[in-house]
């Protein structure tokens, strides 16, 4: 039991770690583009903003279980397989990038307009404005948003069992639910709760330390 639990935990951490890293990168890029090109952003550009916003909304409205099945061809193209841990990461990243991107966008929009005006008055161009002013000021909000995203990724990762992705959710489903072994249902759940708590505490701590307001 302990061994199975440990193995599953490692699988979950692997899935969440790799998906989290890609989500952080992709979500930041998409979120910054959404912010910069939005109507109240530093360089409004509807031709980019509207299609991207639509894509993000579609990504966020698709239930994860359906998304996982829908992107199977893409998963195969990227990983060469449709089952296993690597195959679970593809739909996870696709689902969580739009989620995090919206949180990034709203964190950036919350930066005081006066600060942006001050930076422009100093002769900052858009890249310098985003890199030197908007992102540093929004850092605590970005960390909070990423924490929320990571918790969502943990919860999505439990569904990865469907494609044989392994992890704690898979363990609970196969042993606990399908084989009626209640303790296999409870212990993975306990570990998941502890994991989420850890992420939340860590995220809140970082955000608080970096917030000097």
């Amino acid at each position: 039991m302990i061994e199975l639990l440990y193995e599953s935990l490692l699988e979950t951490l692997h899935i969440v770690g790799v998906s989290g890293a890609w989500t952080l990168l992709g979500g930041l890029v998409v979120g910054v583009v959404l912010y910069v090109t939005s109507k109240s952003g530093p360089r409004p550009f509807a031709v980019v903003n509207q299609p991207l916003g639509l894509a993000v909304n579609i990504g966020r409205s698709a239930p994860f279980v359906l998304l996982m099945v829908a992107v199977v061809p893409l998963t195969r193209a990227i990983t060469g397989t449709t089952i296993g841990t690597e195959a679970a990461i593809v739909p996870l990243v696709i689902a969580s990038i739009p989620f995090f991107a919206r949180l990034v966008e709203s964190a950036l929009l919350e930066v005081q307009p006066g600060l942006i005006e001050a930076a422009r008055s100093m002769g900052a161009g858009v890249p310098a404005l985003v890199w030197r002013v908007v992102l540093p000021e929004a850092t605590p909000g970005l960390i909070r948003g990423f924490t929320v995203t990571l918790v969502a990724v943990v919860s999505y990762s439990a569904m990865a069992g469907i494609v044989g992705g392994g992890g704690l959710g898979d363990l609970a489903y196969r042993y606990g639910y399908q084989r009626f072994q209640t303790e296999y249902m409870i212990w993975p759940l306990v570990v998941l709760v502890v994991l989420v708590q850890l992420f939340q505490i860590l995220g809140d701590g970082c955000a608080r330390t970096l917030d000097r307001r």
């Binding site: 006066g114 008055s121 100093m122 002769g123 310098a128 030197r132 002013v133 850092t139």
Partner: protein, 263 residues
């Protein structure tokens, strides 16, 4: 007369149906402190922002240091903005950066190397009396200290012109005087041209050489502050009388101002 430091000619700006600026002309001489007095909504804020083109006028030309900034765009406009610094009512400091990195921000935009940025930031913090606060965050400073910090930041890129947007309006009276005295010192010592907007008469009378009163997007009077105050028909003079009456009581105020005019 030498070339004006700031020249606005026929500058107009509309926001929808609202006329914010209506054919405004303005010359500010090098080394001058010019104040614009007006209520909120008079167009002062829009006027100030046409000087560094944070707001682009619909018609009219803006010259800063002889250069037609209204003709600029892109990189050259950003370079012109760096020479025209600005301070604000709510300071607009980066809350997650300490005092020294706030001051160094314009230098980062200008691509100045790190060592030079540090040296210059220390120098400027010293100039505004915050030498011991280099590592403090804006949240740990008082209102007056924050505005000093914002002034140090504004000076970092060695501007020739400083635009002041109600810089003392969020401060108490004593702190206001302290900040105004600092601006007057910088004007004298660095030859800095200052264009300020305010709704506080005391700001005009304390440090401005010339002033204009603005209403509904136009200047209704312009002139040297001393002359406007002495002119019984001027709006600035009338405001001064009203203020004195409010502070001292009608009779005393009338006597004081009459005495002042005879002298």
């Amino acid at each position: 007369m030498s070339e004006p430091s700031i020249r606005l000619s026929g500058v107009s700006k509309r926001f929808g149906d609202t006329v914010a600026l209506d054919e405004v002309d303005l010359d500010v001489q090098p080394g001058e402190i010019f104040g614009i007095l007006g209520r909120s909504g008079a167009g002062k804020s829009t006027l100030l922002r046409t000087v560094n083109l944070l707001t682009r006028p619909d018609t009219g030309d803006v010259h800063v240091g002889g250069e037609a900034v209204t003709a600029l765009s892109g990189r050259r406009l950003r370079a012109a903005r760096a020479r025209t610094a600005m301070i604000f009512q709510h300071f607009n400091l980066l809350s997650n950066r300490n005092a020294a990195s706030n001051v160094a921000l314009p230098l980062r935009f200008a691509g100045v190397p790190r060592a030079e940025r540090r040296a210059r930031a220390a120098e400027l913090l010293d100039l505004v009396g915050l030498a011991d606060k280099a590592r403090a965050y804006p949240g740990q400073l008082s209102g007056g200290q924050r505005q000093r910090l914002a002034i140090a930041r504004a000076l970092a890129a060695e501007p020739t012109v400083l635009l002041s947007d109600e810089a003392t309006s969020a401060l108490d009276t004593d702190t206001t005087d302290e900040i105004l005295d600092l601006l007057a010192d910088l004007n004298r010592e660095l030859g800095l041209t200052i264009l300020l907007i305010t709704h506080e008469l005391e700001v005009i009378t304390r440090i401005c050489h010339r002033a204009a009163v603005m209403e509904a997007g136009r200047f209704v009077e312009t002139g040297p502050v001393a002359e406007l105050l002495a002119d019984p028909a001027s709006r600035l003079g009338a405001s001064a009388r009203r203020l004195a009456a409010r502070l001292l009581g009608d009779d005393v105020a009338a006597g004081a101002l009459d005495g002042g005019e005879r002298a």
